[in-house]
């Protein structure tokens, strides 16, 4: 690996060159024992503010659970979903949360294969976010079916109805894609945790904490750190990264085909797969920053999640912002160039709605899709522009604010796609309008509560950084420093 943290024997210290692409993580200046101590200190008893934060998220989760109970009890008619708008907030949330999940695998797998050293400090948290985001996303299609207790009908199994699922349907592809993605993400996350669980187990033994040792021991899967275990582990990890990489790109492509395979104006386009994947990475990386920047401040992790890491993620955000911006423009151009009146109509409807002129006067009214469209353009294309400046990228607070805009924008992008096309399909007599009900809003808020509750619990129960990889990134202890590699 092209590390730029080199041991300078003459100077007698580790020299870190941040500008050459090294994360500049503090770990490179610490010894193995100190890394252990610093990381494990993060799992100490939380401060009252932690419980206050957790309570807030739990309240959001509670609101979601209550709304969910009403929705399941009364039925799908209690939502705003009705003919002709069959897909509303729930599918929007599904696509949004699947997208959020993409950053974790991108950081843990793709950047592992491409040897991006700055991933070390953030990949564990990003991976946890993937797992939690996909868990959150998975709830929505089940809920959307209206009868979630019959969700197992989606699985192909021999049954008394003598029916099989339709493997030519994009919805069944989605079942396979999302369950595979969730399974692989969870396994990848667990795999990365094994050596760290052994560290927690042995530290608990060393400090005489028997109960903790008893909890961590089964999770460590009898890990001892022998060379036999390491060789299987490291090769297995590489294979997992290689398997997860195409999966990242396939999952959101398949999600996009839920739309693109239909003949609905505004959906039936070949650009959807790359457009969705870029959007997923864009929103996922933004969520990583939205969560990790406050975490860095709370835990005092400025020496690990350095400004260099934030800068690197910001550059990815700019890059993907440009791709989605290009995709928005391309959609409009192709809508015009197709010559299809239905395509042209939907791409007029998205920004301008029923307006007959460019003024907001008269009886023209703004609908939800128009609000979604302009929020999408502002948050995803315009708001990230300041990130081009080094000074802005180097300012954690500024990056945090921009990433919140991006999160909002990406949610509305999903809604813009889902909602607008269904409201104005082919026949004006079958046009309709969609506004969510309070139950749908409650479940949406609950999904954020679910995600953030899980992440908050994770941050205090498992090491939010990969201790083993931090050790790998540092210079090993050498009696004779000249022999260092």
């Amino acid at each position: 690996m092209g590390t730029t943290a080199e041991y300078n024997a003459t100077a007698g210290k580790v020299v870190i060159d941040e500008h050459q692409g090294h994360p500049g993580i503090k770990a490179t200046t610490l010894d193995y024992g100190q890394i252990n101590d610093e990381m494990l200190a993060m799992l100490d008893k939380p401060r009252p503010s932690y419980y206050l934060l957790l309570l807030g998220f739990l309240m959001a989760l509670g609101l979601g659970a209550l709304s969910l109970a009403i929705q399941v009890d009364v039925g799908i008619g209690y939502s705003g979903i009705s003919h002709p708008i069959a897909w509303g907030f729930y599918i929007t949330n599904f696509v949004f949360w699947i997208g959020i999940g993409h950053a974790g695998t991108l950081i843990s797998a793709v950047f592992y294969l491409t040897r991006a050293p700055w991933r070390t400090a953030i990949y564990r948290s990003a991976e946890a976010m993937t797992v939690f985001a996909v868990m959150t996303a998975g709830l929505f299609p089940l809920l959307h079916t209206g009868r979630p207790w019959l969700a197992y009908w989606l699985i192909p199994y021999p049954n008394e109805r003598m029916l099989w699922v339709n493997f030519k349907s994009p919805l069944v592809w989605d079942v396979f894609a999302v369950t595979t993605y969730m399974s692989v993400s969870i396994m990848f996350f667990m795999l990365g945790l094994i050596p760290d669980m052994a560290i927690l187990r042995d530290e608990a033994i060393r400090k005489g904490k028997k109960l903790k040792a008893l909890i961590y021991a089964p999770m460590a899967l009898a890990w001892r750190g022998t060379n036999h275990q390491w060789i299987h582990y490291m090769r297995g990890y590489l294979i997992f990264a290689a398997l997860a990489t195409p999966l990242v790109f396939s999952v959101h492509s398949i999600v996009s085909w839920d739309f693109a395979m239909s003949s609905v104006p505004g959906w039936h386009t070949t650009i959807f797969a790359p457009y969705f994947v870029a959007g997923a990475i864009f929103s996922g990386l933004s969520m990583v920053m939205t969560v990790l920047i406050p975490m860095r401040a709370v835990f005092g992790l400025q020496d690990y999640i350095t400004n260099h890491v934030i800068q690197s993620v910001s550059k990815m955000i700019i890059f993907t912002s440009m791709i989605v911006g290009y995709a928005y423009a391309s959609e409009f151009f192709i809508g015009y160039y197709s010559g299809s009146p239905f395509e042209r109509a939907i791409f007029y409807y998205r920004p301008f709605g029923e307006m007959e002129s460019w003024t907001l006067l008269g009886e023209n009214q703004i609908n939800f899709p128009q609000i979604a469209f302009w929020l999408m353009v502002f948050c995803n294309v315009i708001a990230p522009i300041p990130l081009w400046r080094w000074k802005i990228r180097n300012n954690a607070l500024a990056v945090w604010i921009i990433t919140i805009f991006v999160n909002i924008g990406m949610w509305f992008e999903r809604f813009n796609i889902v909602g607008s096309s269904l409201q104005h399909e082919y026949d004006p007599a079958a046009w309709g309008e969609y506004w969510p009900t309070v139950v749908e809003v409650g479940i949406t808020v609950g999904s954020f509560g679910f995600f953030f509750t899980l992440f908050t619990l994770f941050a205090k129960s498992l090491p939010p950084m990969a201790i083993m990889e931090l050790k790998e990134a540092t210079n090993p202890p050498m009696r004779n420093a000249a022999k260092g590699h």
């Binding site: 692989v184 042995d202 750190g225 060789i231 582990y233």
Partner: protein, 172 residues
């Protein structure tokens, strides 16, 4: 498991560990090394050991691919549902299922495989209880475990002490 006879030592420094490994291998014994993180220096000293994990991934990935194509093809043939004159057994849509199951099968069996190989290796290359329970191997120390005949115990003990081991334990 047979009773362990051999020597194990604790090292603070990586270079001393690798020197010990090389010298033990010159004596015709392949040691087991314990380390807090993977180091390629240790792999070099051990003679670049290999693993069959990639073959497990390949084999089960191929199985997943086969199932991913054959399951939709069989179910489509079992309950024929003609749509718009399109083929009943259609390769492009089934490729998606084939791809997903390739990844899923390869991933599950890679994880299961490396866990199983870890168990097998713990029987093939046993380490003494003292070394297993020593908590600093996961923290900041390296361990070298040599399984040998009783006649060679002293020789290896001296070798490890000479190379700067913090502690040397002889197990008979």
């Amino acid at each position: 498991m047979s009773k362990f006879t051999g020597v194990w030592a604790i090292f603070e420094y990586l270079d001393e560990t690798t020197e010990t490994i090389e010298q033990v291998r010159k004596e015709g014994v392949q040691p087991t090394v314990i380390s807090p993180c993977p180091r390629h220096e240790i792999d070099h000293a051990l003679g670049e050991p290999t693993t069959i994990v990639p073959w497990i991934a390949l084999a089960f990935g191929a199985l997943g691919c086969f199932i991913g194509y054959s399951l939709p093809a069989w179910t489509a043939s079992d309950w024929v549902l003609p749509v718009s004159g399109k083929p009943i057994v259609a390769i492009p849509p089934f490729t998606i299922i084939g791809f997903e199951l390739t990844i899923l099968f390869a991933a599950i069996h890679t994880l299961a495989g490396l866990a199983l190989l870890g168990i097998i290796d713990s029987f093939r290359f046993p380490i003494p209880k003292g070394a297993k329970d020593y908590p600093r191997f996961q923290r900041d120390r390296f361990g070298v475990v040599v399984r040998c005949e009783e006649s060679k115990l002293e020789e290896f003990e001296n070798l490890m002490k000479k190379n700067g081991a913090e502690e040397v334990h002889v197990e008979k």
